[in-house]
């Protein structure tokens, strides 16, 4: 009985799923399926696979592997110079990398056939120094890429821009120029500009680091709202309050390596690595 019962389980899985042709091709989805709550659906929006990057002889990224699934908010933190900004800029190929692969919504970043401008247009990015275009009005900033990249008409682009401005609470400033706005306002415009392209994922590169302290809140509020609406987000930041509030996972980087990649509760509760513990004690102590 027992000897005859053994073989069936071994052969059973095969007839059970005859249609699924590619079971071994999703290594990232498997470990996430259990713990991550929102991530349970497990569609990787960003898959970063063994990415390494060098500036000359200096290695800035070493075998970075992680993924962000649809609707997930991942915060990337770590000491300065740890490569977190570089990693996030690799996602939309603003920074080239020499080894590994990144896949965004099914499209490979390193592939001759990939239309990079098209890929980038679907990946919203917010920079530390806002990088609004100073010679264009706020409306112009919001419309430019919509019209030139997505081919929307002027009216459609401006209506979309206006709706997003209202959402970030800056509708009254539409006619102004970037130089006439405060840092916090400029960063909110920058977020609206990225959202105007209907991105499938948003990247934030230290979005509050260049702001006066009293303006950090208004920008974080917009980001929290965005996260709650289900936007897929990868956020490089030192704002641990933001991470606690909306992040699903926290990635800790040091010296170009992903040292810790944990659920938020685990990361803040009991980070496994000593370096992450030291980092946390430094930034949370006061």
């Amino acid at each position: 009985m027992t000897s005859s019962a053994m073989p069936p389980p071994a052969t059973a899985p095969e007839p059970q799923r005859p249609g699924a042709g590619a079971p071994p091709s999703s290594p990232v989805a498997a470990p996430l399926a259990g713990p991550a709550p929102a991530a349970a659906a497990g569609v990787p929006m960003i898959a970063i696979d063994q990415v390494s990057k060098w500036y000359g002889d200096f290695q800035v990224l070493t075998n970075c592997t992680t993924s962000v699934v649809k609707g997930e908010v991942v915060v990337v933190c770590g000491p300065s110079g740890s490569g977190k900004s570089t990693l996030i800029k690799c996602v939309n190929a603003l920074e080239p990398f020499q080894k590994g692969q990144i896949t965004v919504d099914g499209t490979k970043v390193v592939d001759r056939r990939t239309n990079l401008p098209q890929l980038r247009s679907r990946v919203g990015m917010v920079f530390q120094h806002f990088e609004l275009f100073p010679h264009l009005s706020i409306t112009g900033n919001l419309s430019l890429a919509q019209r030139k990249v997505l081919g929307r008409g002027r009216e459609e682009a401006e209506a979309k821009g206006m709706a997003l401005l209202e959402r970030v609470g800056l509708k009254a400033h539409a006619h102004k120029f970037p130089g006439q706005l405060s840092g916090g306002q400029q960063q909110r415009v920058a977020i609206a500009r990225a959202l105007a392209m209907n991105p499938v994922v948003m990247l934030f590169d230290e979005p509050t680091s260049a702001l006066d302290p009293e303006m950090v809140g208004e920008v974080l509020d917009v980001m929290v709202e965005l996260a709650r609406e289900g936007m897929t987000m990868m956020v490089v930041t030192h704002e641990m309050g933001f991470a606690r509030k909306v992040a699903n996972r926290v990635i800790f980087m040091d010296r170009g390596e992903i040292v810790e990649d944990a659920r938020k509760e685990d990361f803040f509760g009991s980070p496994r690595s000593e370096r992450a513990q030291t980092f946390l004690s430094k930034i949370l102590s006061h």
Binding site: F127, E131, F133, L144, G179
Partner: protein, 239 residues
């Protein structure tokens, strides 16, 4: 000094038989202005392309841009005029050389091309400096929004770079205008050439060159004023 001042000379008939000395100088002024404007069109277009090439990521366009600038910037303008006018027709295949030599208004066309390409090397340097003066993030922001490299230059980088370099570009334009006088050596009858022939015909050297000097200053003041207006017109609010 034994000199017979005669400010009335301008209204006397010139030996050319087509009008007064004043008419002669004015015709010179017009050639100066036309040559300067045509040369500037070349300088601005070629200079912008070369300047942009020097800021592109690729090695080949960079090397080409560098070679252009060093070649045209490091050879004296006078030598370049002679090369274009006297040497080029001789080194080209014979039929082309003959065509060049027989072209009517050859000094004008030569001056426009030579001065245009010379000034282009200087414009290229300004354009490059202007683009490099912009924060690195501007290019990234354009790229991240999905703009192509050409679109990023067209809609983001160049509009800002040109605003930054407007004052030095005014200087380049003035240099370009004054450098037209070098073309008298290849026979262009521009303002300086006209002042010289007036001096040779009438011996009124002071009157002739006073008039030329004042005319140069006058058009340059017009240019400076126009540049000021441009600067105000394109000023970015809040900056």
């Amino acid at each position: 000094m034994n000199y017979n001042w005669n400010w009335g000379i301008f209204f006397e008939a010139s030996p050319e038989g087509t009008g007064t000395y004043a008419d002669m100088l004015l015709s010179g002024l017009i050639w100066t202005i036309v040559t300067a404007l045509c040369a500037w069109v070349i300088a601005f277009a070629v200079g912008s392309v070369i300047g942009v090439m020097r800021t592109l990521p690729g090695r080949v366009p960079q090397a080409f841009g560098n070679a252009y600038v060093e070649l045209f910037r490091n050879v004296p303008l006078l030598v370049q005029m002679f090369l274009w006018f006297f040497v080029l027709p001789e080194v080209l295949p014979e039929s082309w050389g003959t065509w060049l030599k027989q072209m009517s208004n050859a000094p004008f066309y030569t001056a426009v091309v030579c001065l245009g390409l010379f000034t282009a090397s200087r414009v290229a340097e300004q354009v490059r400096a202007g683009i490099q003066a912009l924060p690195r993030g501007q290019r990234m922001a354009g790229t991240a929004l999905g703009l192509t490299t050409a679109q990023t230059y067209r809609y983001v980088l160049l509009p800002n770079a040109y605003r930054i370099i407007l004052p030095p570009m005014t200087s380049e334009f003035l240099n370009n205008l004054k450098n037209t006088s070098v073309a008298l050596t290849i026979g262009l009858l521009e303002l300086t050439a006209r002042a010289r022939s007036m001096q040779e015909f009438s011996f009124q050297v002071f009157e002739a060159f006073t008039a030329a000097t004042l005319l140069y200053i006058l058009i340059n003041l017009v240019v400076v004023t126009a540049s000021g207006l441009l600067e105000r017109r394109f000023a970015v609010p809040g900056r």
